[in-house]
């Protein structure tokens, strides 16, 4: 980024229908996009709606569309994304209803985690009882490694907002929910495999994925939801072919 004194920030105002409002924000040496939004809300326009919590890349609540790409704003340095003339364009996440300004409604995103059976179902204690002993899961086992690959998802919805299939098919479960399903399919302690695979096998499930890999490209945690979806496709293919489901 060229050294500019101030950033020219265009911020989405309104709901689904709205407009860009223009703000000038002082440029700093070290400055995240979330810092810019916070400056606008605290110093320039207190009516601006946006969402954040942890500010350190753990909670997954501050994601927005920054210069056309979905990003976690608390860990995105302005200098990495700003244009040469200091222009920043901020919109709410795509593929989700807009509550107001930069705050998108994540309810459909998390509803799909439920539809994908994204909740752990203990094999040994279906009634909720505490198992007698710890489950031993060897760290080097294949299934443990597959589960580990996707376990760090923070639910920021960056993948969901970056996915064209979500835009084309409103029912599509999306990369994060399918990544969660794949993580649980590989959890040897889980007893809900059959129902979960049924839940992700329909038209709105893993087979709708076109492997554009935008989810993998944009995931701020460097997870690979595209590979998780491919894993679900693979398991469903062989289970169906061999009559295991």
């Amino acid at each position: 980024m060229a050294e500019v004194a101030s950033l020219k920030v265009s911020v989405w105002r309104g709901g689904e229908q709205g407009h860009f409002a223009r703000f000038d924000v002082p440029a700093r040496e070290n400055q995240t996009v979330l810092d810019v939004v916070t400056h606008i809300q605290r110093e320039l326009d207190p009516s601006l709606a946006y969402r954040f919590a942890c500010r350190v890349g753990m909670c997954g609540s501050c994601a927005m569309t920054v210069n056309g790409r979905a990003r976690w704003t608390c860990r995105t340095h302005v200098r990495k994304v700003v244009d040469a003339d200091g222009a920043l364009e901020l919109r709410p996440l795509a593929n989700l209803p807009v509550i107001r300004d930069l705050a998108a409604d994540l309810a459909p995103f998390f509803d799909k985690w439920s539809r994908a059976h994204g909740t752990f179902q203990p094999k040994d204690a279906r009634d909720g009882a505490v198992p007698d002993d710890f489950a031993v899961v060897p760290p080097a086992s294949k299934q443990r490694r597959e589960a580990d690959a996707g376990i760090e998802c923070i639910g920021c919805a960056v993948c969901y907002a970056s996915c064209d299939v979500v835009a084309w098919n409103g029912d599509y479960l999306g990369p994060a929910a399918l990544n969660r399903a794949w993580t649980l399919v590989n959890d040897v302690r889980d007893g809900g495999r059959g129902e979960r695979l049924d839940a992700v096998a329909g038209d709105a499930g893993c087979h709708s994925c076109h492997s554009t890999q935008s989810c993998t490209e944009r995931c701020p945690k460097n997870l690979d939801p595209s590979a998780a979806i491919a894993g679900l496709k693979r398991v469903l293919f062989w289970d169906t072919l061999l009559g295991r489901r």
Binding site: T65, N67, G68, R69, A70, A94, S162, D164, H210, S211, T212, Q213, S214, T216, E217, R218, D224, S226, A227, A230, G231, K233, R234, F237
Partner: protein, 113 residues
């Protein structure tokens, strides 16, 4: 459509795979029509094949071969991702698919010109 969100190699590979598939599907009826002329007599087919010796037809033919190779290589890449779980080095695989397609086109061009 905002291209800023879609400007990465695997998205481009997806577009190439789709578009090449569609263009090949459009070519198929022409291909069958040409084969059909053989039924109506050798002279008619030979006449058409002589017409295809013109440079424009050769260029279109080369493009067709590239499309076919791109669709095949891209399809193998997706199959490797989905059936073998080859998750690493996806961008290299996209580059290799593109390289194979262009190489096949070049070999075809060297043989026909």
């Amino acid at each position: 459509m905002d291209l800023r969100a879609r400007s990465h190699p695997t998205y481009l590979a997806f577009v190439v795979h789709r578009v090449s598939g569609l263009l090949l599907a459009l070519f198929l009826p022409v291909h069958f029509w040409v084969l059909g002329t053989a039924i109506q007599g050798e002279a008619r087919l030979d006449g058409f094949l002589r017409w295809t010796d013109n440079p424009m037809a050769k260029a279109a033919e080369t493009l067709l071969v590239v499309l076919l190779a791109a669709h095949l290589a891209g399809g193998l890449r997706v199959l490797a991702l989905e059936f073998l779980g080859w998750r690493a080095r996806q961008k290299d695989m996209v580059a290799a698919s593109a390289g194979i397609a262009l190489l096949v086109g070049l070999v075809f061009l060297l043989n026909v010109v």
